[in-house]
Symmetry: none
Subunit: 191 residues, 4 copies
DNA sequence: AATGAATGAGGATTCATTCAT
DNA sequence: TATGAATGAATCCTCATTCAT
């Protein structure tokens, strides 16, 4: 037979990569970054160990891949906010979408924090995020400025701290931190 | 040399234990819980590996020791609040003490989160904390009740989420999350 | 396109084989036999891994191919000596040609020795050479016999040891073992 | 019981190290550097894999250890020659001792060459030898100068090439390169 | 004939824990 | 009580070789 076309190969590679990332996300969520083994990822993904190294040159590199992939997912939540700005309605919708993610993508959040707190991978993430904060925070700063808040940047940071804190606690003790009952307070204080 | 009295021995044990915990805290802060090795702890503490196992029966057990030790430290911050309750002045003082700890004991907080997010050690912590939340949250619930807040428990959780979120972000990007400039907002919204 | 004739196909095969061998020689010279990988050979030669296995059934087999190929090259240096015998003039010319090879084909010599010293490939070479030494040494034995040397076979071995020793040292420390300044001595003692 | 004294520990470490080197030498001689596995070394030495890494931080490092150890052995052969210089009698004795080593320490020579030809470990060896050649060659240069040889340095290199060439060939085909029958020629031509 | 994705056995290395002294 | 040598299971990673296309 004739060999696969470059297009076919590219497609195949994309699929495999997604397959590996999905499995890695699952395993690392359950075991934690350091405790998860490449063998587990291989078994879970149904892909041989060797092939994984064909796509990611090391375990650390795999984590980087996961993070890149996940950040793309996160961006989707923001939707057009970075371009068109925040409104109260959009803010509330964002809160709901974010809370939904806290519920459904625990996998990612757990890894995100775990990774954040380890020196090595942190550098990877920071490199990825560096210089994007200003751009990322912009809609909030504008929003609180328009609302006439005396310290828009401070309020922006405060708002983000609230989200991270809720996420962290919900991750650890979901029943103690029920998102629904926190929602009204969050809306009232932040929006 | 005359044999030591039991009291002296007990004192010696306590000192050694503190010495080990301090070293472990230092190593784990730098390397992360999973990446830190018992050999490093031994080298840093100046105590032989064998002897460490005389004081802590496993690495996990050592982590438990660190957490117990650290929780004691944390309790000191609360002072008499659990017994005598919160007042606005005490609340503000508590905020300042907490922020000071975020600055000075990054070591502990880093490990605290890292540990929180790994399945295994988490159970240890949870076992330690279980059933204490009600008791621990009490002063806040009372405080917000007295203030006439419509959802004292929700506000209590919200307040704690704020603290955790600030801590998490300050840990990762201290210059982006300056505690001083957040302080007025925190006081205004929470107290 | 019209189908190629069998002759064309055979020619193509020969070219491909040479292409692979050349690349393998290059890679193995740089990395050493054991450290060189088939993937590197594929990349360097511009021929896919799969196709390489169409020409050489294993890595070991590829090495054998290289050696066979290289021995042919070596034989060319000897020219008609095996048939017509050695004369002083021919001997000197041979020395010069050999020294030139030490300079230009380091690749091959390095691999030659590396291969010699590893048990597995050595067997391959020995199998190839077995029984040829007598034939190969003949011109030297005859030469030293005619010169009236009391131990022609010993002198033959001695001469070959000299060449190998020079090659080995020149390979490792070219600037310490300058071939030109050794030439007069070699001529004087061996010819 | 009381712990071992530093002296006891040092002695123990020396013994273990020698034990490992001996086994490694044996395994690498039989299998070649690259093909030898740390597991084999462990099995042969009767020492656990883990402990080997307590003494040598990597496989490459182990090779370095072997070479250092072996070079010491080699120096013993030279005896007082570096200080007191060469005489014909000493030269002949040296030839005999060297030939004896070619016979008995094939292990070392094989590894020596193998290592020489691999880029990475070569640097280790070169670093060890660098700048020692002049000192090492001195007795030979003096010897040939006194004999009135027109090119003492060239003759020195020639002599060393002879030894290396004989060693290389004897290693590969001992029966074809009988050291005894080469001895008279070597003595006659070099001494 | 040609490609490179896929496999998996094998090898280097780490580290919690034990144990002789 | 105190030491650090010793163990070996567990883990990451490599690479010759195969195979679907």
């Amino acid at each position: 037979m004739s060999p696969r076309t470059p297009q076919q190969l590219e497609l195949l590679r994309q699929e495999r990569k997604a397959q590996i990332i999905e499995a890695a996300l699952e395993v690392m969520a359950a075991e934690g970054y350091a405790h998860a083994t490449m063998s587990q990822v291989a078994r879970t993904s149904g892909i041989s160990k060797g092939l994984i190294y064909n796509y990611f040159e090391s375990k650390e590199n795999l984590v980087e891949g996961i993070l890149l992939f996940s950040l793309e997912e996160l961006k989707k939540i923001l939707g057009d906010i970075p371009e068109t700005g925040l409104t109260p309605e959009k803010y509330i919708a964002l809160i709901d979408k974010t809370f939904a993610m806290y519920r459904d993508k625990q996998v990612f959040w757990r890894m995100y924090i775990a990774v954040m707190l380890q020196e090595e991978p942190k550098r990877i993430v920071l490199r990825m995020l560096k210089g994007q904060e200003a751009h990322y925070f912009r809609p909030w700063v504008d929003y609180y400025t328009q609302k006439g808040h005396p310290d828009p940047m401070g309020m922006t940071l405060f708002a983000h701290a609230v989200f991270d804190g809720i996420m962290l606690n919900h991750l650890n003790q979901p029943e103690l931190f029920p998102l629904e009952s926190l929602r009204p307070l969050v809306v009232q204080i932040l929006v």
